[in-house]
């Protein structure tokens, strides 16, 4: 009990910090047109490479400075967040649905179902993921939906492997046997008895996967394979920032910080949620 309480105390700041950042970023992304101080696409060569607000030569209204075309960095980050979050949520949910379902089936039914699903996962994971993503987007064509689809296609295996292992462990427990004696059907047992016990892991993985999806999207837009180049994306801003690092370091550094904070928050949030969801640890 004492240990449980210590754990709970340890969880809270992590949950609040990670959740707070995500909420802030999410709200900014949703209300981007209202929140962003400038038009993210408006170029003004008179205002190029303005430094962030605390440095000499900063202009009011351009808090994080501007890039080499005079576009407001903060506004571009906020609008880039829209794409990052859309990709994170849709790709992670899609990967989670496919992966968890197959993982449950493989873990619970075992036998042939397990053998087939596990082999497919093994083969799938043999591909280097980023290369696989670039290849998929090249085949599917650039655009938001191809990026989402590519991430889901690559990352469902993460869910599948973990959920399969957890399900196998749970299926051996006596309460599953008890349910069989009572006369429940196999699918009923899988959904009513086993699934609730793997939900904490699913939630943690889902959050982690959102972070991964943000990174993959950034990588794809970094190599110009994400969506149309007009819309600002975090990866795209980083790519531009790399070119002007010696004249305007902020164009590279701020999107990097945003990206790292977001990915870190997703993974911490997932861990914290897992302990929250687990009745034994709670």
């Amino acid at each position: 009990m004492d240990e449980g309480r210590a754990r709970r105390r340890g969880v809270s700041p992590r949950l609040w910090l990670a959740g707070g950042w995500l909420l802030l970023a999410l709200l900014a992304a949703i209300f981007a047109p209202l929140v962003a101080p400038q038009d993210p696409l408006a170029q003004d060569l008179m205002l190029e490479r303005l430094p962030p607000f605390w440095m000499n030569g900063a202009e009011p209204g351009y808090w994080l400075g501007t890039d080499s075309l005079g576009r407001d960095l903060l506004s571009r980050l906020i609008f880039g967040g829209r794409i990052a979050f859309i990709v994170a949520f849709s790709a992670a949910v899609a990967a989670c649905l496919v992966g968890s379902t197959l993982g449950l089936i493989a873990g619970y039914f075992g036998g042939w179902a397990d053998r087939i699903i596990s082999r497919v996962v093994d083969v799938w994971m043999a591909f280097p993921p980023v290369l696989f993503a670039i290849l998929l987007v090249a085949v599917l064509g650039t655009g938001l939906s191809s990026v989402i689809l590519a991430i889901a296609i690559i990352d469902w295996t993460r869910f599948c492997r973990v959920i399969r292992a957890e399900t196998m462990g749970q299926s051996r427990m006596d309460y599953v046997e008890n349910a069989r004696i009572a006369g429940y059907g196999r699918i009923g047992i899988m959904l009513r008895e086993v699934l609730p016990n793997v939900v904490p892991s699913i939630v943690a993985l889902l959050s982690l996967e959102m972070g991964i999806a943000v990174i993959v999207e950034a990588i794809l837009s970094f190599v110009n394979l994400s969506i149309s180049t007009d819309d600002p994306t975090w990866g795209g801003i980083i790519a531009e920032g790399r070119l002007s690092i010696h004249q305007a370091w902020w164009v590279l550094v701020f999107p990097l910080i945003t990206l790292i904070l977001t990915v870190l928050s997703f993974s911490q949030f997932g861990e914290a949620l897992k302990t929250r969801f687990d009745p034994v640890l709670r």
Binding site: D174, I181, Y184, G188, N197
Partner: protein, 292 residues
């Protein structure tokens, strides 16, 4: 009146052909407590699982019949068999820790079965569960029903499982070493509860245990099992007064006595084990011949 459970010549094998149950026959009369004793690995639990239809997939029944209240389980379609076993039997498991689903509240786990399997209304199931919790002397049913399993002690969990086993009024309960995982003071209370509920409800119990002391206290008849073979079967009183088989005698001699706690424990005699081994080898030979 037919037996509540009638097992005839049940044999089961592992994939490598080794027999784990050797022509086991035993019957449980309605309302009777039938003990099944043996060392660990003797196949006691296997028999219980066979009756309840939850044998591990590697174990295959190759011969014999199991009749539950006169219905031949082997002749039923899998679905009908599940329904029959679900409605007429229940299990009191060995380990109350893993026998309850950790992520669901006690209340929903207990009523679920009555509602989904027996088609009772939620209200009726709830009343019934509370009545049973009272019978197993749980004084604060509201708290217990709202709890998750890890919030209850081992003894409480076992009470909950006993209540759940009796709730649907099964005809037969398989109690698989229900007190082994509990500490000694709680064991006694739990045993007393099982016997009390068994009497009140008139349920037949197949009581699997390795503890001869428990056998003497609660059962009417005993089967002694060794290596998947019934070596002796008798009324409990008769068995303790005059054990017939040398293994039974050796097993009794090996039981520690509380009256003389410092006496060294006696293992089962080598000669007895050698005799058993040849007995079993002979039985296997005889069994293989007609079965190729």
């Amino acid at each position: 009146m037919s037996a509540c459970l009638d097992i005839r010549d049940l044999s089961a094998v592992l994939p490598n052909g080794q027999r784990v149950l050797r022509s086991v026959s035993l019957s449980v009369q309605p309302g009777e407590v039938r003990a099944l004793v043996g060392e660990s690995g003797a196949g006691k639990t296997m028999i219980g699982k066979a009756v309840l239809g939850v044998l591990p997939s590697s174990v295959r029944i190759v011969e014999g019949d199991m009749l539950l209240e006169g219905e031949d389980l082997g002749k039923l379609q899998p679905k009908a068999r599940r329904t029959l076993i679900g409605a007429r039997t229940a299990l009191i498991p060995q380990d109350p820790l893993t026998a309850l689903n950790p992520s669901r509240r006690i209340g929903s786990q207990m009523t679920d079965r009555l509602v989904r399997i027996l088609g009772w209304s939620g209200e009726k199931a709830d009343t019934r569960i509370r009545q049973l919790l009272d019978e197993v002397q749980i004084r604060d049913p509201d708290r217990v029903l709202k709890s998750y399993p890890h919030e209850l002690s081992g003894g409480m969990r076992q009470r909950v499982l006993i209540a759940a086993a009796f709730a649907a009024e099964p005809r037969l309960i398989v109690a698989d070493e229900p007190t082994t995982a509990l500490d000694v003071t709680v064991q006694k209370q739990i045993l007393r509860l099982i016997v009390q509920l068994q009497r009140e409800h008139g349920t037949a119990i197949l009581f699997v245990t390795h503890d001869l002391g428990v056998v003497a206290k609660i059962s009417q008849r005993v089967s002694v099992l060794y290596a998947g073979k019934v070596v002796e079967e008798a009324d409990t009183a008769a068995l303790f007064a005059a054990p017939q088989h040398p293994y039974t005698r050796a097993l009794m001699a090996a039981t520690p006595r509380y009256t003389d706690p410092f006496a060294s424990l006696k293992p089962v005699d080598e000669a007895v084990l050698a005799g058993l081994a040849s007995e079993i080898a002979a039985a296997d030979q005889a069994w293989r011949r007609p079965h190729g």
